[in-house]
C-alpha cells in the first residue's frame, strides 16, 4: 500500500456495468515525507475520501477485494483515510 493525496475526480456516464456506482478519484502518490512521487492515477474509493485528503491506497488484484462480493474491475483503490503519519 502507498500514501497518496486526492487531487481530483473523474466523471464517466458510459462505463462497464461492473463499475456502476463507484467514485473515481485522481490520486497523487506521496513519499512518507509527503512529497509528490510518481504519476497521478485513478483510484476507486472504498472509504468515502474527499478532495485534498491524505489517504492510502493499494494496487493490484487486491484493490478489488474491498468491494466483494461484487467484482469491481479496479487495480487501484483507496482503502483508508490517514489521520497522522509519524516517523520514528
Amino acid at each position: 500500500m502507498q500514501i497518496g493525496k486526492v487531487v481530483g475526480c473523474v466523471w464517466a456516464t458510459v462505463k462497464n456495468p461492473s463499475l456502476e456506482g463507484q467514485r473515481l478519484l485522481i490520486v497523487q502518490p506521496l513519499t512518507p515525507e509527503l512529497q509528490d512521487t510518481g504519476k497521478q492515477l485513478i483510484c476507486a474509493d472504498a472509504t468515502g475520501a474527499g478532495a485534498g485528503e491524505l489517504i492510502y491506497w493499494c494496487r493490484g488484484k487486491e484493490a478489488s477485494f474491498p468491494f466483494l462480493p461484487a467484482e469491481v474491475p479496479t487495480e487501484a483503490t483507496i482503502v483508508g483515510i490517514i489521520d497522522q503519519v509519524r516517523r520514528c
Partner: protein, 90 residues
C-alpha cells in the same frame, strides 16, 4: 486505472478463440492534466468507445473482472468513457 486516448484499433484474424468478437483499441496514456504520456497499450473495449475519445483503462488481472472479460486472456480493458476530469488547485 489510468486515463487514455483512443488513437487506433487492431484487426487480427488469427487470435485466441476466447478473444473472438472483442474490439481491440490502441490507447495512448494521458495524464489527468491532459498531457499525453509515452507508450501505448492495446486494450479490450467493453464500452463501445470511439476514435479520439478519452477513456478509463484498467490493467493487470483486474482487467478480467470487467463484465464480459471473465476468463479471457486480457490484461487491459477500457471500462469507461470520460465525461470530465476535475483537478483541484494544489
Amino acid at each position: 486505472m489510468i486515463l487514455g486516448r483512443v488513437v487506433g484499433n487492431i484487426v487480427a484474424t488469427r487470435k485466441d478463440p476466447r478473444l473472438e468478437g472483442f474490439k481491440l483499441l490502441v490507447v495512448k496514456p494521458v495524464a489527468p492534466d491532459g498531457k499525453e504520456e509515452s507508450g501505448y497499450v492495446i486494450a479490450v473495449d467493453t464500452v463501445q468507445a470511439g476514435n479520439r475519445e478519452l477513456v478509463i483503462v484498467v490493467s493487470g488481472s483486474s482487467a478480467r473482472m470487467a463484465d464480459g472479460c471473465k476468463d479471457k486472456p486480457v490484461d487491459a480493458s477500457i471500462v469507461g468513457i470520460v465525461d470530465s476530469v476535475r483537478l483541484d488547485e494544489r
